[in-house]
Symmetry: C2
Subunit: 306 residues, 2 copies
């Protein structure tokens, strides 16, 4: 069912060589390629539009859901809506992501809309990895939209990674936090050649004692372009912190346009952003250890993107 | 020529009790009230629109120009265009500002457009203080627009202060820096009651080795609203730093929307913003020294706004 190319792509996205344990749904070229449900995690195909409902029973702890999307055809435009209902008190890992292997010259695109309701006291870790490859000139385009609502005492951790091969991306992440809810977003992005990337993250803290941390790290090489809109608003007593660091190289362009909005005097919001090139003394140190300039650069960038 | 009220307002704006030494122009209720020029600094009334040209001869060092605007009438809408030509190698202090004493219930407004050409190697310190007072309900509105171009090796230091009594302000500051030019902007703002304030500062670093520092400190009390748009773009090897700190109290609202744009890989841009209330431990420390809560608060706010 999964051929060697599929397995290789699965590995890139999820670190898995075979079908994952637990619940999963693998979507290939716009079709369901494989699915598994468990006693606690159900996956139901949507009737009104492409996509699925993933329902995690209350109290489900230590389970995972993998929902990778594989595209190996050129000229495909795949759109999918997935809704997650994370039951009260559960604690689950969700691994999504999309790999496009575009063999031809026609654009292949995947737009995924993911909606999460993290119910009272529930916790999720959501990992989303995007990559593209292929020998032709066909563009690889990925536009994820992620909507997360975290109920009282809930926790969501997001790891959003775009490592290579994505020609164009518009990422849109909307998060709403209720009383005592917390979100941590870690975004890592590398662009090169003529790639362009836009990432919008908007966190609304509407509940008392909600808190949010956004960490965005990016490297822009060659002629690539990156724009970051990182917004946070506090409507109650809450704490938020945005940190946005970019390394810029070659002819790349990077813009950071954050927005912190305090609509309550007990909102504490902090934003930090820095754009600059690799520190020269770091390069020299590594080169004095015998690395070439290129190797030293790569080592630093890898460390920066973790 | 200047009555007791005028002198009091002059003091608030400039710290002067009498007419200043050096060049000056005092504008009162839309009319020229007093003017003095020096051998090196000429002030010429514009022919095509309200306002004046202030011409500083090359090499003028240690002189000052005071151009305060006093409004003591209700229902006045005063608009003025002032152009400064700062000759090569000069080093001058320019003190502007506007005080509105609105005795009635009709809105009084002053919009000042100030344009500066700081020529090669010249230095200016520009101080602008805004305040309003008056027993009626008439709004006091001040909308300054400041456009500054700094030529090679030039330096501009801006101190922009709005301390009290301004019901509404839209501040717009545009700065362009050429090779090796530097700007330092210090903005201090206090709003209270229903006041609203918007400040836009845009710094374009178009010259190699230009640098910019923006420090904005504000306190928002009562139901007042503040919005800060602090932008910086690097088009060459350059360094920029924006720091934006706000203390929020009561039912006030504060938004910080900075933007850093690196269009060159040797641009180094940093932004930091924080919105929060007065640190509790600071309050407690001062209160343990015998201050009331209100006194402790005032002491901290004064220190914060310097």
């Amino acid at each position: 069912m999964l051929d060697a190319l599929d397995k290789n792509m699965l590995d890139e996205m999820t670190g898995l060589h075979e079908l994952p344990a637990g619940a999963y749904n693998i979507r290939k070229n716009g079709e369901k390629a494989a699915r598994n449900t468990t006693a606690n995690i159900d996956i139901v195909t949507k009737q009104d539009k492409p996509g699925m409902d993933i329902i995690v029973k209350p109290g489900t702890v230590g389970e995972s859901v993998h929902i990778p999307v594989i595209i190996t055809a050129e000229g495909l435009n795949d759109l999918v809506y997935n809704s997650f209902d994370i039951g009260e008190g559960s604690d689950v890992l969700i691994v999504a992501g999309c790999g496009i292997h575009n063999p031809g010259d026609k654009k292949s695109q995947h737009d995924g809309v993911h909606e999460f309701l993290v119910r009272k006291g529930a916790r999720i870790k959501y990992v989303e990895k995007h990559f593209g490859e292929g020998n032709g000139n066909g563009e690889k385009v990925l536009n994820p939209k992620t909507i997360i609502e975290v109920e009282e005492g809930g926790y969501a951790e997001l790891e959003l990674v775009q490592i290579k091969g994505v020609d164009s991306t518009k990422r849109d992440t909307e998060i709403k936090l209720h009383r005592n809810a917390r979100v941590v977003v870690v975004e890592r992005m590398l662009t090169y050649k003529n790639q362009d990337a836009e990432s919008k993250i908007n966190v609304e803290m509407v509940g008392v004692d909600s808190s949010a941390q956004i960490i965005s790290r990016s490297v822009a090489r060659d002629e690539s372009k990156q724009i970051f809109y990182l917004n946070m608003s506090g409507h109650e007593r809450c704490r938020g912190h945005i940190q946005c660091d970019s390394i810029i190289m070659d002819k790349a362009k990077v813009e950071a346009i954050p927005k912190i909005s305090a609509f309550h005097s007990d909102s504490q919001l902090i934003h930090e952003a820095a754009i600059g090139k690799i520190a020269n003394d770091q390069l020299i140190k590594l080169m004095s250890l015998g690395l070439s300039e290129k190797e030293a650069e790569d080592t630093i960038l890898k460390g920066f993107l973790k």
